[in-house]
């Protein structure tokens, strides 16, 4: 059900764009208004969500410590899995964000003949890494459309990305890696029973959406060629807030753009916000120095507890009898 609905939603977007692309005035909507609106929702929504999170304080310092604590000079500590200094926690975060450190720990537990066996399991890590990095590379390559002249680093990325020089135009490594990564991520949801069990439409929809984006992008380069000069003119116009709509760009482009717009607009209201959340997760981004430094909870209230005076009042006779010193005889 979740799969069908998600797939249906993505197909509906494709169909809407396909129809819209055939109708002149709607091209204006699809090519200019919708991307603007989607981008505004993305930026606004992203900021709103981060501010919403940020409005709640972090009352307690609760990092998940994943290595030896700082104690004695003669005990080797694990700086980056159990940081006590700011730069150490920055390294921890860097490894988390750029190398998916925690996912790399992933193991697989199996019960065989009454014995539990834990094996390494790197598929999720690999799929996630391939997907995210190739997505980043592709996003950066798209800067070619937004900036004139094309920045040098974008050209460098393109050269590296296309270095295999297979096919004409050259196939990009990132295209293959993106689809492979997506296939791994989607394949897990289809075929790994536990992952299938926990998957919601919220999980399938973005995957299908991104697959559709990648596919239309690739189709535009290889099969349904679009007018690349027109595309650049349109995108440059959007970027400089002087949008124009050149003629004869090709329907595939409008499909691609509507899918991307859907992704942008969906982003702030979905689990995709893990992109922002990963930086703000208190079990990862805090130093483990709670005994070295006092941290203040902004909503702290004094504890209402059973004081020693009350305690002695209740048990004075028993205490005296047992020879335990008391404050008042």
């Amino acid at each position: 059900m979740a799969i069908l609905v998600s797939l249906g939603a993505v197909l509906a977007i494709v169909v809407i764009a396909l129809i819209g692309a055939q109708v002149g005035p709607l091209q204006y909507l699809l090519g200019i208004l919708v991307p603007y609106a989607a981008f505004a929702i993305f930026i606004g929504g992203f900021i709103w969500r981060v501010v919403y999170w940020g409005k709640s304080p972090v009352p307690f310092r609760i990092p998940t410590t994943a290595g030896q604590e700082y104690s004695f000079p003669w005990i080797k500590r694990n700086r980056f899995d159990n940081p006590v200094k700011l730069w150490e926690v920055l390294v921890r975060m860097f490894l988390e964000v750029f190398a998916f450190r925690s996912l790399f720990r992933h193991t697989r537990a199996e019960l065989r003949g009454g014995n539990l066996i834990y094996g390494p399991s790197k598929w999720l890590w690999l799929g996630a890494l391939m997907f995210h990095y190739s997505f980043l590379v592709i996003a950066l390559r798209h800067l070619r459309f937004f900036v004139q002249p094309t920045p040098e680093f974008v050209k460098t990325i393109e050269n590296i990305d296309g270095m295999l020089q297979i096919g004409a135009p050259h196939m990009y490594l990132s295209e293959v890696m993106l689809l492979t990564g997506l296939a791994i991520l989607l394949g897990r949801r289809f075929f790994a029973p536990r992952i299938r069990y926990i998957s919601l439409a919220n999980d399938y929809f973005p995957l299908f959406l991104i697959i559709a984006i990648a596919t239309t992008g690739i189709l535009m380069r290889f099969l349904f060629r679009v007018d690349i000069v027109g595309v650049k003119e349109l995108v440059l116009g959007l970027a400089s807030f002087h949008p124009t709509l050149p003629d004869g760009i090709g329907a595939m482009f409008f499909i691609h753009v509507l899918l991307v717009s859907a992704l942008l607009a969906y982003f702030p209201f979905s689990k995709l916000m893990h992109m922002g959340g990963v930086f703000m997760s208190p079990t990862r981004n805090l130093v483990n120095n709670t005994r070295m430094k006092r941290h203040v909870n902004p909503w702290w209230t004094p504890p209402k507890f059973h004081t020693y005076e009350e305690y002695e009042e209740e048990y004075r006779d028993l205490m005296k009898e047992a020879g335990i010193p008391v404050e008042r005889e």
Partner: protein, 543 residues
Amino acid sequence: MAKELTPQETLRIDLRPPKQDWMDIPVNIKEGIYCYPAKPEKIECVDMPNAHKWSPVEEDWGLPENWKEIFLEGFRERLDKHRTFKIFMDICVRCGACADKCHFFIGSGDPKNMPVVRAELLRSVYRGEFTKAGQILGRLAGARKLTMPVLKEIWYYLFQCTECRRCSLFCPYGIDTAEITILGRELINLFGLNINWIQEPVCNCYNTGNHLGLLPHTFKQNIEFLCDDIEEFVGIKIEPTFNRKGAEILFVTPSGDVFAEPGIYTLMGYLMLFEHIGLDYTWSTYACEGGNFGFFTSLEMAQRLNAKIYHEAERLGVKWILGGECGHMWRVIHQYMNTFQKPVDSLEEPISPITGTKFENAKSLKMVHISEFTADLIKHGKLKLDPSRNDHLKVTYHDSCNPSRGMGMLEEPRYVIKNVCNHFYEMPENTIREETFCCGSGSGLNAGENMELRMRGGLPRANAVKHVHNKYGVNTLACVCAIDRAVLPASMEYWVPGVDVAGVSELVANALIMEGENERSVNLRGEEIPGRAPKEEEAQEDV
């Protein structure tokens, strides 16, 4: 247990999920899994709301009419107070990395014990009640409304999580199920749905200072009984002091060690260690509980119970505080206490009076862990040790969840063990240190009525012990946690017969060569140490 399952029966675990969607499987509250509800008087005792009689297996849980409002209002309030809660509700991508990391899932195969689903139980309510998408799309967006069956399900699984944080280690975003369980338990405590195994210790601790409800004279007597045992087994008379003003150090340890085997041997270990080094310290009958079952009730309750330690340290005028072996006690002390309580000016930065070592890592809180303290003593050669007295022991070490994932104290206890035992073997690497498995009964789930749950949750730990038991003949499971000492013996008996559980300080004291001691032919348990029977020694002396 309703009916006693043999280990073989318990092991029939299917880790594959059922066909049916988890939202379609109504909660089935089973005997052997759930814990008995809190007695009303134990709730009233600490002024918590809606103390009432009820039963989890009955239809009506006796909730106030506006329970939904209370729950949702409490939910909203906690979202505003804890960034963790908001983020953990929003960013899970359901990648499944946590699924098989939970000891309860591995041991039961119940899909709702996968940390991701455990969190989704609450997250679905969050979406259904607080987010637009959830309200419009409903189930399609993984959302549902809060209903009585939903509440029952949440309740049931809140008490099948030991807040061990193993899943949070593997989560790419550090989503911490312990945090969700802590706040979830706060919510059900808004209308009196705690379990008695947690609530009664809370009430006891509030009044008498310890979970067991030992009155001041009983607490003192119990420790004096243990001193008698030491005199008998070791030949040394120890006279500890209680509530003594002007002592340099206040010592606080979980009260379980005052009372029950094998924790009492650990406590004897402390007494002997302190005697050996001539430590100027005192016990307190008022702040006589290191453990903190308040932490399993609400953060506020944790703060209220924890307040006694500083309060007493100030009254007695000690310089700093030494803490005994306990798991969740150290989570609270290490990560919460310095925020819970205002600093006490009279305390000083802790310095070991024996070695002069400054405990840099505790300079603000002024509270040091006994394993840190002991490791420093050994490093400086301040303890005379004869590890061969532990030669009949083949030892492995169980990292407690909290000191490993909520503190990072991994090497200190190992260093101590390796200096007092000659035969030490590590369990497989995926089951120790930061990846350690819970004993299966933490966070207040060490009751008797939920034995099936405990044995299931204890399986991964026990299975790793079994591995070293079979491979190296390991017969001793060392630990630095009072709950471990209380529950692992049962788990070992069930899964790995032939393995005893011992606190690290017990092993230390057995190896300790004390001035004026006897021939030490028996250990602290009064058991003969193989090869050290007194007769043989006399015979040797004759020759």
